[in-house]
């Protein structure tokens, strides 16, 4: 398979439309020279926005404020439930309120470095530039950020940075930022500038004469297939973490919009970059539906260990031995052992891989053997239970609620889980995909985090795209569209797209097989986790591709969807999404197989330093992969956007000393 | 008009009339309490409440307050019933912190109202009503001399333990109505925040209890075998 890839790789130049000029002036230059749409014309232009998360809601609200007609879609019952709401930690901004040496450049630099030098410089710089406006905007909306006694905004520090630049609202920053964007969106809905379509799922993009001109959506309550036209389509539908079945994503988070865009000509980029979070509550059994994240801050005072002897681990798994029974000398504090300088505070990917390594070697604990201990006993002895309670009380409580064990007395059990996906739809500097008039924002696009995302940067990117980037760049496109009258949905392209959607649904409904959608999705998730998970090899990825092929076959011959297609049908919704997860899963594996290096959220066992660290290959792989759809059952074509670093010198990450 | 067509406006009316009725109870209760110590003093106070113009104005105001409180209570309950929707829960429980009284204010109100009819018949119709009728030249068969001797009627009825017990039941219902009603009125009028809310609750409970203790002391006094 790898052989074939060589032949399908076509070196085509990709135009990322990065403006000219020095890095720090690119965005100002762009704004100064871009085309704008005058107010009277804005009223005549319709924009479809898919998704109501941080990116979608902020974009829909901001575009409507400018005067465009916005149609906003979400699959939940209200825009406020988008999964951005679950982000805990905070949002970064280069305010330098702490006088600790922060600046736009430093935020830019940390983000690029954190992303293991696989992001586009100009985009990241712009992100750092607008980060400050986001904080101002959110404060003005009434977001109750944490404050100091003097009444000014408080900051906390977060991994991957030497400054305190993270703004937060308790442990619910995502919720508060989303509710801020939701309130701005609600204001526009109230004014009639945004038309909201809740419980609607986009099932296809309609492209007319090479431009995105609308969508086909399914009303999830009635099952009716509906057509919507617009002058541009913006997708902020989130990431593809649920390809792995178990992730920290919400149950309904899906990647179908990405697959539809891909099949209409948008490039899929860097899918192999999947972020795995080390401190999640482990899987308890077969029917686990999702994984719960616990804040990384736990690693500040907890020590991670597994038994030193295999027989002890086996006894613990069998319930014959308890963690507390093990003597100090029988415990293996493997992070402290392997990384003396950073110890338990190594970055997410390093910590995650290390725990998988121990569990795979047979030292895992818990009844599944897929867990390691996070032990607070030493901290409790040193600082007292009250201090630990003050720091982590709510997390301990959450853990106890889920696991039914008191973490003050017995060590917590943790295991890594898929948390965020850096890859996505390729976009240029204007956030436009390779299809004209089709834009991707937030986690749905591939842009700003490179191969690995730093904590508190996802919220920043989603809001930057929606509030401060897209509302400008989309005008550069729409300025040429003012002569285009409102499109009729009776065009043959709409008819054709709707027919395809109907056909796909009919096909699924007719299979009437013997496997439930979830069964197949679980199967896919297991393959993804075992073969395309935290550490990958050429062999594992090739095996994954074969297995995914089999799963795809299973799906299209054996899936069973009860009920009717023209009614609320939760199984049909899931089936349509799983069909697309299978496509995405294959693309992830393909991307990972192609990328013969290790970087950030992509670790190939063949490419590591003698100490077991990720080994990048800047000579050959300093590019963003762009997979171009080449027809059903055909291998996609790989295009490459070279990543050129003008302001930054690349370095190897090192957390040992 | 927002006092009629907004939910908070309607609740404000309930609160104001409620507080007004509480003030009346404070006065009435204090007056009653006197009877335990001196029948003459009691009769002297009651004398003010005969067919004097201020007493009549007060009575009318009081009656209006009652009527408005009751009409709004029925109106609000009807609306609330409607807001619940057609289907009711097959199983419905409450957390322990939810007071029973708060969930049953209408029921308590109806009990209070029922006993009040008895009370009006036993006392008001024998006292103020007789005086009014007399002044208007109408004769409802009441004895004017007895109308001025409230203490006689107190003794007359409460010496019968059945009435004492009935009054105690009534007052307990009223007490429950008040334990919720008083703080709830303050809450509706917008008093209190996260610091004052628990304080208002405590103060209201004390007030409600004091009022009822003053009232209830009389039937209890008689039940214990004492007399005035």
């Amino acid at each position: 398979m790898a052989k074939k890839q060589e032949s399908t790789t076509v070196e085509t130049t990709i135009d990322s439309k990065v403006p000219a000029g020095p890095l720090a002036e690119k965005w100002s230059n762009y704004k100064a020279h871009q085309k704008l749409v005058n107010p009277s014309n804005k009223r005549r232009l319709d924009i479809i926005v898919i998704g109501t998360g941080l990116a979608g809601a902020s974009a829909a609200a901001s575009l409507a404020e400018l005067g465009f007609n916005v149609l906003n879609f979400c699959i939940q019952d209200t825009p406020r439930r988008a999964h951005s709401i679950a982000a805990q930690g905070g949002i970064n901004a280069a305010k330098n309120y702490k006088n600790d040496g922060d600046s736009v450049y430093r935020l830019f630099y940390d983000t690029i470095k954190g992303g293991d030098y696989r992001a586009r410089e100009s985009n990241v710089y712009r992100l750092a530039e607008v980060s400050n406006n986001i904080i101002d905007q959110c404060v003005a909306q009434g977001v109750p950020f944490a404050r100091e006694y003097g009444g000014l905004l408080d900051n906390r520090s977060f991994g991957g940075a030497q400054v305190s630049r993270t703004f937060y609202a308790k442990g619910q920053t995502g919720q508060q930022l989303l509710l801020g964007a939701y309130s701005a969106l609600s204001r526009q809905i109230g004014k009639g500038a945004v038309k909201l379509y809740a419980r609607h799922e986009m099932l296809d993009v309609v492209v007319v004469d090479g431009r995105a001109r609308g969508i086909i959506a399914r009303n999830l309550t009635t099952g009716k297939i509906e057509r919507f036209s617009a002058h541009a389509v913006v997708v902020g539908s989130g990431g593809y973490g649920n390809t792995f079945f178990l992730s920290t994503n919400a149950m309904n988070s899906n990647a179908s919009a990405l697959v539809q865009m891909y099949k209409k000509g948008a490039y899929m980029s860097n899918l192999s970059y999947c972020q795995i979070h080390p401190t999640c509550i482990p899987v308890h059994g077969e029917f686990q539906s999702k994984l719960t994240l616990m804040s990384e801050s736990l690693r500040n005072d907890g020590r991670i260990w597994v038994p030193k002897k295999k027989e002890d681990a086996e006894a613990i798994r069998a319930g014959k031995l308890k963690a507390n029974d093990l003597k100090e000398e029988d415990r293996d504090y493997y992070l402290e052992r392997r990384y003396p300088a950073f110890g338990n505070l190594v970055p997410r990917d390093v910590a995650s891989r290390a725990s998988k390594e121990r569990c795979d070697a047979g030292y895992g604990v818990g009844n599944t053997g897929l867990a390691v201990y996070l032990d607070f006993s030493e901290s409790i002895q040193r600082l007292g239970e009250d201090v630990i309670r003050a720091r982590y009380g709510n997390l301990f409580q959450m853990y106890e609620k889920i696991v039914d064990e008191n973490p003050y007395q017995t060590p917590m059990m943790i295991y890594p889980a898929i948390h965020y996906t850096m890859g996505g739809i390729w976009v240029d500097y204007e956030l436009q995909t390779s299809v004209k008039g089709l834009f991707a924002i937030g986690e749905a696009n591939f842009s700003d985090h490179g191969a690995n995302r730093l904590g508190a940067s996802a919220l920043m990117q989603g809001l930057a795209d929606g509030y401060f980037v897209l509302p400008y760049t989309i005008q550069n496109y729409l300025a040429d569209q003012i002569q285009v009258p409102r499109l009729s949905t009776d065009l043959p392209e709409f008819g054709e797209a709707e027919k395809q959607v109907h056909a796909k649904i009919e096909k699924i409904m007719k299979i009437q097989g013997d496997k439930s959608v979830d069964t197949i999705h679980r199967q896919l998730g297991l393959v993804m986790w075992d073969f395309v998970g935290m550490s990958r090899t050429k062999a594992s990825l090739e095996e994954a591709l074969a297995k995914i092929k089999a799963i795809r076959h299973d799906f299209w011959t054996r899936v069973y969807v009860p009920g009717l297609s023209n009614d609320t049908n939760i199984e049909l919704e899931k089936a349509l999404r799983v069909a697309d997860f299978i496509e995405i899963g294959e693309l992830i594996a393909r991307d990972a197989l192609m990328r013969e290096e290790s970087c950030g959220g992509h670790f190939r066992e063949e490419y590591q330093t003698p100490e077991g660290e990720a080994l990048r290959n800047d000579e050959e792989f300093s590019f963003a992969s762009c997979w171009k759809f080449n027809g059903e059952d055909e291998e996609p074509i790989l295009l490459k956007e070279p990543l050129i670093y003008e302001s930054i010198k690349r370095q190897q990450r090192n957390y040992k000393a | 008009m927002w006092l009629i067509d907004s939910s908070i406006g309607r609740k404000l009316i309930m609160s104001i009339t409620g507080i007004f009725l509480v003030l009346f109870l404070v006065f009435h209760g204090t007056m009653n309490f006197v009877v335990l110590f001196s029948a003459e003093a009691y009769n002297a106070i009651a004398g003010f409440l005969g067919a004097n113009w201020y007493a009549l104005v007060g009575t009318k105001l009081l009656a209006i307050g009652f009527v408005v409180h009751i009409i709004y209570a029925i109106y609000l309950s009807f609306q609330n019933q409607k807001a619940r929707g057609g289907e009711s829960y097959a199983v419905k429980n409450n957390q322990k912190s939810v007071e029973w009284a708060s969930q049953n204010m209408l029921v308590l109100g109806v009990i209070v109202l029922g006993f009040m009819a008895l009370h009006l018949f036993q006392f008001w119709s024998k006292m103020q009503l007789v005086e009014i009728s007399h002044k208007l030249g109408l004769d409802n068969g009441g004895d004017l001399a007895l109308a001025k001797d409230g203490a006689y009627w107190v003794k007359h009825y409460f010496e019968n333990p059945v009435y004492s017990v009935l009054y105690i039941i009534w007052l307990v219902a009223l007490w429950m109505h008040l334990t919720h009603g008083i703080w709830s009125a303050f809450q509706t009028m917008g008093a209190g925040g996260n610091i004052w809310l628990p304080r208002i609750k405590v103060i209201s409970s004390i007030l409600a209890t004091l009022i009822i203790l003053m009232f209830i002391s009389i039937p209890v006094y008689f039940l214990l075998g004492f007399s005035i």
Partner: protein, 251 residues
């Protein structure tokens, strides 16, 4: 440690908003007590699907207690009997072996049932659309530190703002009142200088929309506070009353 129980479920099934609903009884054996309540329903649905029956429709999404999508009325309590907990955070270890569990949808005039246990809560969106925001456009806002805000006010605003819009307050209120929901938003914005500016107009607009949508009148029973998965205090309702009354008296 892992244990399993056998349970009987009485679940409300209703084909469509207009259709007549009824309770259907299901038996489920050997449910691991480590499962969450929603995972137990997943298992039941898998079982129904394997019997070629239609699964039970219920709303859920994040399964970590923050999105507000889950809604079930379990054994007489919204989100089950535990205080400060959403349905997705409820675990089967809270139930006894052999127990019968009754599961109903939210019931309120303003939340019509769509299918089975799923209800339409768009009335909440309409209330927010009526005024649950600060009138600022994107861009042109002053520096985040331009106006100091006391930590106490910011923290209290945060407590109010932690509302997840699940509707448990309405579901449990014997009056079907949405006062706690409305109060949480009005109070949050009234406590912050940015929202204070439009406080009066906001309170009037949101209360009037709430009344129009058919929610009941608050009688301060406190059931909402007791069942709120985010423990939002009814002291915010006092603030809403204050805001509304002073707005009305001054207009």
């Amino acid at each position: 440690m892992e244990k399993s129980i056998n349970i009987t479920l009485k679940i409300w099934r209703q084909a469509s908003p207009k259709a007549k609903g009824e309770f259907v009884t299901y038996k489920l054996d050997k449910v691991s007590t480590d499962n969450s309540f929603l995972e137990m329903l997943d298992i039941l649905n898998e079982k129904l699907i394997s019997e070629r029956k239609e699964p039970i429709v219920f709303d859920h999404d994040c399964r970590e207690g923050i999105c507000g999508m889950c809604s079930l009325f379990i054994n007489g309590h919204p989100h089950g009997m535990d205080a400060g907990t959403t349905t997705c955070q409820l675990h089967m270890r809270r139930f006894k072996d052999g127990e019968t569990i009754t599961v109903e949808p939210w019931r309120s005039k303003a939340f019509p049932v769509l299918k089975d246990l799923r209800v339409d809560r768009s009335a909440f969106d309409k209330i927010i659309q009526a005024g649950g925001y600060v009138n600022v456009n994107t861009g042109g806002t002053p520096d985040g530190n331009a106006i100091p805000i006391s930590k106490l006010a910011a923290d209290e605003a945060m407590d109010a703002a932690s509302c997840i819009g699940c509707g448990a307050c309405v579901a449990t209120c014997k009056n079907g009142s949405a006062m706690l929901f409305v109060a949480a938003k009005v109070s949050q914005l009234a406590l912050l200088p940015q929202g204070r500016v439009e406080g009066a107009a906001r309170a009037k607009a949101m209360v009037s929309k709430m009344d129009e949508l058919g929610f009941g009148n608050c009688t301060n029973t406190g059931a909402c506070e007791a069942e709120c998965p985010k423990n939002i205090s009814i002291s915010h309702i006092a603030r809403l009353n204050r805001e509304f009354l002073s707005a009305k008296l001054n207009s």
